[in-house]
Structure formats: C-alpha cells, structure tokens
C-alpha cells in the first residue's frame, strides 16, 4: 500500500488515527519524516496531518508556558517572552529549517540532533501526550525520552515549561564544527538559579552525549549550594562526564566528546566564549 495522507482537525482525531494504525506517523514540520519519504525508507503507510490551530499555539501565562508541539523554532524566536529559549531555537538549522522544525519533532530527533530538547530538559519540561481519545497526560521529559524508542507512545500535543525568573539563568551552548549552522559535537543547557550568590536547584542537560538528551546529575550536585567560583567549576569539571555515553559519528568520536565536554561546560559556567 502506498503512502496515504489523513488530515485530522483535532488532536483527539489525530491520536485516534495514530492509535488505530501502528504504521501511521504524524507529519509535523517534515524535517525528519519527509527525508525518510524522499530517500525511500518510508514507502507506505498513513501520514497524519494535524490542522488544529492549538497545535501551533504558544500559550504564555506568567512564567508558565505551553508550546504546542507544532510550534516552530521561528515562532519561538519571534516571542520576546521566550528569550531564554532563543539560543536553543537559533541552534536548529538555518532560517528555512527554523521555519519548519517543530518543538514536537525535536523531541524525536536522534542524536546528535535535538538541541532544543536539551534546553527543555534543563527547564524540566512536561510533555503532553495523548493516547487515543481523551485528555493529554503530562509526562516528564526525562521519562519521555527514556521511552522514546518504543512504538505507540501516543501523540505529543504540547510541551509545558516554567521559565526562569531571570532569563539569563538558562545558559545554552552548542558546540559544532561548522558556523553558524552545524550539527552538534555536543550541546549543553544549564539552568542556574542563584540565591544569595549561590546556585540553588541547578539543572544541567547535555545533547549528543548519549542516545538521547540527558541530565548531568553529578554536575547538578556539584553545583547546588555553591557559588559559581573557580573551585566549584573545577569540581564540576571533574564530574562532568559522569553518566555520558556519547557516540562516535561523522563529526566527532566518543573520546573527543568526553574530552571536551568538561572544557565547554566550564566555559559555559564561567561565562567565557
């Protein structure tokens, strides 16, 4: 059976289509799925389009933000309230890809892609997942990523995050070989709320350091309650690679990724270029 396109006007309808057909796939921005189609890895099955306006809406209420899964990187870059996410959104592709690539799609991008998700992970995002008909259920991003490879994970309708009070508390760095647009050697997002000169509740996430974006929990522990001084940064460097499982690919080896991760993390924390 060749490719068939089904258009759903509501999330429930789309989720129903996906639940009812194991081969059905959601077509969002197209940056992942269309390539499979063009190169012949996807030759048959149902593609589900979701036209519900809510799917592409950004809801901001105070520090709570809901990003529809169909929201593009370019849409995020146009919203001043989302300034803390701009670094990560700008790290995705060139201008055309940023007009197409979506928040939801980025959750499924395989390493070394998925830099926006790294920032979401540092913000402790909740993924809104709709299984069949009904209401979406919130799943922690970490949990979501752990189960990403499995089939029938449902329809991602939106992502919810709480923005930091100070946009500068979220630091983001993507290391790539090619400027300004290159895929990641690695990426780092670090949420560093400070109180009385000390970091409290740090959340640090890495991209391209494991099969999915991961939390750097040892680093978070090394930061918590500490001033961001040289001693702290030295301690962070020492534990920076804990829990990482980077791949060797066309842009870097696992050795290189492990070797330079502490360097880039230290530079990010100390505010160096």
């Amino acid at each position: 059976m060749p490719i068939e396109i089904r258009t759903a006007s509501t999330a429930s309808e789309a989720a129903g289509l996906l639940a009812g057909d194991r081969q059905a796939r959601l077509l969002s921005g197209g940056t992942l799925l269309m390539r499979d189609l063009n190169e012949g890895r996807l030759t048959d099955g149902v593609l589900v389009r979701l036209t519900d306006p809510a799917y592409r809406q950004i809801g901001v209420s105070g520090s709570r933000v809901e990003l529809g899964a169909g929201v593009t990187m370019a849409m995020i870059l146009k919203r001043r309230e989302l300034a803390c996410l701009h670094g990560a959104a700008r790290a995705i592709g060139g201008p055309a890809v940023r007009n197409m690539a979506t928040v939801g799609g980025n959750l499924f991008a395989e390493t070394p892609y998925g830099d926006f998700t790294v920032a979401l992970l540092a913000l402790d995002a909740q993924v809104m997942v709709l299984q069949g008909y009904g209401a979406p259920r919130a799943v922690g991003l970490e949990e979501f990523l752990a189960g990403r490879g499995r089939a029938s994970s449902g329809l991602v309708t939106a992502v919810q995050v709480t923005l930091p009070q100070n946009p500068l508390d979220l630091r983001f760095r993507k290391v790539s070989r090619v400027r300004p647009k290159g895929i990641a050697v690695l990426s780092i997002a670090a949420l560093l709320p400070t109180s009385g000169g000390r970091v409290t509740g740090a959340r640090v996430a890495y991209g391209a350091m494991a099969p999915t974006p991961i939390r750097a929990k040892a680093v978070e522990r090394a930061l918590d309650g500490k001033a961001l001084d040289a001693a702290t940064i030295a301690a962070v460097r020492a534990v920076a690679t804990e829990g990482t499982r980077p791949a060797t690919d066309a842009v870097a080896s696992d050795w290189y990724r492990r070797e330079v991760l502490p360097v880039h993390l230290a530079r990010l924390l100390s505010g160096q270029e």
């Binding site: 396109i5 593609l47 300004p180």
Partner: protein, 160 residues
C-alpha cells in the same frame, strides 16, 4: 496510485495539478509544472537548493508535502525579476560575481530575499545566518555575502 488535486498560486499565477500523496513540493514544481528554478540538491533539508517562499515564509520544498500547499502562495527564483528587470538582489549577485556553477544560486537568492524583506539592513552576521541553510561548493561564500550586503545598501529591497 490515487492522485489528489492541489490548487495554489505559483509566482502570482494560479496553478492546479494532481499529485501523488507522497510527492513533495519540489517534485510537483519541477516534474509536474516544469518550474525548474528550485533545484534538487539533497532531499534531506541539508543543502538549501530547493528553497522557496510559501506564503512569504522561507521553506524547503523538498521537505514540504505537495498536497499541503493547497491554497497557498509559492514563490521561487523565477518570480523574482519584474519582467525583464532583475530584482535588486539578482542585480547585486551579477555585479559581485556571486555565482560560479549557479546551482545553489536560486536557493541563495530566495534566502537572501526572505532575509532582506524581513530585515532590510542586516549586519554581516545576520547575512551569514540568513544563508546558513544554503550550501555553496564553489564560491567560498564571500562574494555572496558581499552581494547581499550591497543589495541591502542599495535600499531597493522593500520590506514584505
């Protein structure tokens, strides 16, 4: 294979075609409508040679399902010139020798157009970002960057 109809505007003219559900916009333009301005360079979203404007927004036609263009306005390099008068960015590319093999040029011009229509006075860094999705294997980019900056300086590109 069951084909579906799609109607849209192409460079200001109404067009209609039947497309296979799996066809991307690039295939529709090139093979369905003989609009050869946008090029096939990768089909992966990594080279930018197929770049078009859809409803004024920069998009990659190889990653766009043709059927989803129903009712939309697709603009390509072929629509840039005003009759025999070249668009200021085209003129600047000529003057700065900003093309060699010419294969990336349609996509480059379209990216430059989107950039200048949104930001008529870009910095060099903004120009570099504006073309960062478009691969050129011949020029080393410098002439292209210079041409876009010159087109901006000419002040002839109007905000969309």
């Amino acid at each position: 294979m069951a084909k579906v109809p799609v109607q849209f505007r192409l460079n200001g003219s109404d067009r209609a075609a039947f497309v296979a559900p799996a066809d991307n916009l690039l295939t529709l333009l090139r093979r369905g409508l003989n609009e050869f301005g946008p090029k096939y360079g990768c089909g992966q979203g990594t080279c930018g040679t197929c770049t078009v404007l859809i409803d004024g927004e920069l998009q990659l036609s190889c990653l766009t399902l043709a059927a989803t263009c129903e009712g939309r306005h697709v603009e390509t390099v072929s629509g840039m010139a005003n009759g025999p008068t070249l668009h200021p960015i085209q003129q600047a590319f000529m003057e700065h020798f900003a093309a060699q093999c010419g294969f990336c040029t349609p996509g480059m011009l379209t990216a430059a157009r989107a950039l200048l229509e949104a930001n008529p006075t870009p910095s060099r860094e903004e120009v570099i970002d504006g073309i960062s999705g478009n691969i050129c294997r011949c020029t080393g980019y410098e002439a292209i960057i210079e041409a876009i900056l010159a087109a901006a300086r000419s002040g002839q590109v109007r905000r969309a």
